[in-house]
Amino acid sequence: MKRLLEALKPILRPELTGNAESPEVDNTAYSPDSRVDLITGGNDNTTITDKVCSIVEDKPTIGWWGFFLLAFSVLGLLGIFVPFLIFWGVGTWGVNNPVGWGYAIVNFVFWVGIGHAGTLISAILFLFRQKWRTSINRAAEAMTIFAVICAGMFPGIHVGRAWFAYWMFPLPNQMELWPNFRSPLLWDVFAVGTYFTVSLLFWYMGMIPDLATLRDRAKNSVRKIAYGALSLGWTGSNRQWHVYERSYLLLAALATPLVLSVHSVVSFDFAVSQVPGWHTTIFPPYFVAGAIFSGFAMVLTLLVPARQLFGLKDVITLKHLENMNKIIMLTGMLVGYAYSQEFFMAWYGGVKVEKFAFINRAFGQYAWAYWIMVSCNVLAPQIFWFKKMRTNIWVMFVVSIFVNIGMWFERFVITVTSLANDYTSSAWDYYTPKLADVMIMLGAFGLFFTLFALFCRFLPFIAMSEVRGVLADQAHSREAALARHSSEADSASGSQGEN
């Protein structure tokens, strides 16, 4: 057994890089009179740069290949089942007459939601001057882009006749055929399109200085040309930094309303209708809170293993993870607040169908899904009240998985329960997904993880240039603390002398 473990060690602990294993440092101790070090392990600019660049520069290891190939094979499911769907039509799905919106919309909303953490971290936390965002923003933004790609795929294939998907865009045409501008489904096209564009720009712009670092370190001409072209002639001059930081601030300010708007518009898909359980005014902020909740959970799911594999425990420290857990706890409770207000108002409003819709959710034929949702989204994050739990790697990883599951089920509960049992009881039906539904859902995960694996391999995983800024601040405050300490010691010895 022991020998087997020895033999498996390089696979179980597949360090992707030559980075030495960094020890887990507990930098979460709260102190009301100082700020903790966000980067531990005595790192300086050089070691940070080496660590991050080596992920891209060293040969990929067996661990990366394993992850990539697994994700890529799951992605293959899309290659099989999407053509199958297009060829045979949506009859290959489990959607039936009352439940016309099944997995496709559930997956769409789920992935758009996942895609909220990146922009929240890079834009809103930037405006709130949260320095800890610097270690996680790059990966989170990459994840955002990939999640939005996954999300964007679903409306494309669920229109039924996928070759007419371009009708979603208001293109001038001879048939005078226009999309319905009064439909929130069309607003989605604009909201998600704008979000994708701005997130991509934001992500790319933030990466330019780091791409230039990779270019400068490149040892072969392919890398030199590729990173050279991508870094747009960045030299790091004073003037360039000035323009860069101004535009970063502007993009952050522009991206901030998008964090709110995208999922609000997605919530309109449901809330503008008269379907019981969908038509309720709290939907926009409730969806936004849920999106941030699920997005942060996905960031944790990805970063907890990644920091281990890439030897980045001193860059993405326990403090970073703890902060993310706090946000998960907060947004989890916001989601819980929304559940409770919906339930209360369904009773208070005195509208019979509305009341039925909610009782049916909790105790009807989909009660199992409802209680999975409540326990994963509301109860599971409560464990983070305890500091021991929110700084425990295993606990947070498990909770993050729970939240991912719970948020998928939230969309399932909203979509399916309300449609399956609405006003006309003679038209009720039970929704059961078919093989194609499940396979396309899995395939989307494959797409997501494949893209993420490629990102780890070819682009700077950490915003090096921003982490360098944090290091400078850290050094500065340490100096100031030392100075303060020595002056206090001086005055103490002085007073002793007088005695």
């Binding site: 009301p32 009179d33 309303p257 939907f283 208070y348 601040d473």
Partner: protein, 431 residues
């Protein structure tokens, strides 16, 4: 960061001192003026007599052949009273939220103004006193139809286990207990730190703040439902609590800006609170102006779009006459577009005169918002119920609020003297 730059506070005037006397004098003047005005005008309007007869006549009408409303259609003095009471209550609660959020986030920049927020939040005791006249059976009956619903009103009957007089009183007592407990304990702990400099106090306050925020969220939501939404007991909206919350935070930041400008004009905290802090307060006003608009838009758009009569009626009442339509447009333009455009610029937020102007505007709009929530049900929105009593009550309560603020801020420093984050806050700069 202004590394190494330290603000010398030894020569800074950090107490209210003689200013408290001036504030109390001003407050008393306003309160007396407000009271006299209200009494005089109230007599002219017949607000203190005849109400019983009218309301019973109206009830008789409704019972026999009139439409069944979930709201009272008769004007009473308690309507403008509720408008202004909610105006000041929301502001005060915004102060409590500011303090709790400061601790939950371990914030640095806001340390220099936190004592002022604590002072404002302590006014919640005063607000409890102001709400006492409202909870007598007569005034409740004049405001809320559900106290004595029309016979045959099935909608109110459904929720009578929630909307009834006793349970309402108990809930109100619970809300105020939560608010007073947190406001006083955080203020007391903060002032105690001025004396002993114990950093453990900061950690304790930080540890308790998540509990405070959770209780705050639930209590503000249900207080919003009880005090304002149940004015029309038939109407409901799940976002209403968030709408009230947005108003709380927005109006508090406006008030905070005004307090700082007032204190600095009188030589207090002239160096401790810098342009940088003003800019941040302005940013929060800007952010919550947008947030309020987002919430208000969500509520309006979703009800307008689905077009279900029992939901749209609330808005129909607010836009079927030209005066209420105009008021609705004031909400859109004055509550959102004007402050949005005004507060974009950094220079506006940093200059005392301009930020004060913006803050006054925001407060006026917040009052207009409370007016918009309370008044349109009078005569079912067919008449515009504005009287000078609306203003005299506002003036009177403002006087009382200022007296409370003076009492709350005097007797100790205007800044949290020995807060461990004070030096960070003093050196704060918008990068």
């Amino acid at each position: 960061m202004r590394h190494g730059v330290t603000v010398d506070l030894s020569t800074e005037n950090r107490t209210l001192g003689s200013l408290s006397g001036k504030m109390i004098a001003l407050g008393t003047t306003l309160a007396v003026l407000g009271l006299i005005g209200t009494l005089a005008l109230g007599n002219l309007e017949g607000a203190f007599g005849g109400h019983e007869v009218e309301s019973s006549a109206a009830a008789h009408d409704a019972g026999s052949h009139g439409p069944i409303h979930g709201f009272v259609t008769e004007w009473s003095i308690w309507h403008p009273y509720l408008v202004s009471a909610c105006f000041f209550l929301t502001m005060t609660l915004g102060g409590l939220f500011f303090v709790l959020v400061h601790h939950i986030t371990n914030a640095g920049w806001s340390t220099v103004v936190r004592r002022l927020a604590e002072g404002v939040s302590r006014n919640v005791v005063l607000m409890a006193l102001i709400f006492i006249p409202l909870v007598f059976p007569d005034s409740m009956e004049a405001l809320y139809k559900w106290v004595h619903p029309d016979p045959g009103d099935e909608i109110i009957a459904v929720k009578s286990s929630y909307l009834n007089y006793n349970w309402f009183l108990i809930r109100l007592a619970i809300y105020f207990t939560i608010w007073i407990t947190f406001a006083w304990s955080y203020h007391r702990s903060s002032v105690a730190q001025d004396r002993d400099g114990d950093v453990q106090r900061s950690s304790r306050m930080s540890r308790m703040s998540p509990v405070g925020v959770a209780l705050f969220a639930m209590s503000v939501t249900f207080a919003g439902y009880d005090l304002l939404m149940s004015l029309d007991a038939h109407w409901f909206s799940t976002i209403f609590g968030v709408y009230i919350f947005a108003g709380c935070v927005l109006s508090f930041h406006a008030l905070l800006a005004l307090i700082v400008v007032f204190l600095q004009a009188n030589g207090r905290l002239t160096r401790a609170v810098s342009d940088e802090h003003m800019q941040d307060i302005g940013k929060m006003m800007f952010a919550f102006t947008v947030f309020w608009a987002y919430i208000a838009f969500s509520q309006y758009m979703l009800y307008w779009y689905a077009n279900i009569p029992e939901e749209t009626i609330w808005f129909v009442r607010r836009q079927s006459t030209w005066m209420w339509s105009f008021w609705s447009w004031v909400m859109v333009v004055g509550h959102f577009f004007v402050p949005f455009l005004f507060l974009v610029s950094k220079h506006i937020k940093r200059k005392r005169a301009t930020i004060a102007l913006g803050a006054l505007w925001v407060l006026a709009m917040h009052w207009a918002d409370m007016y918009y929530l309370v008044m349109p049900q009078i005569s079912n929105g067919t008449e515009f119920p504005f009287t000078m009593i609306d203003i005299t009550i506002l003036v009177g309560m403002a006087g009382i609020f200022i007296i409370g603020l003076a009492l709350s801020l005097r007797g100790h420093s205007l800044i949290a003297e020995k807060d461990p984050r004070m030096s960070e806050s003093l050196a704060f700069e918008n990068a």
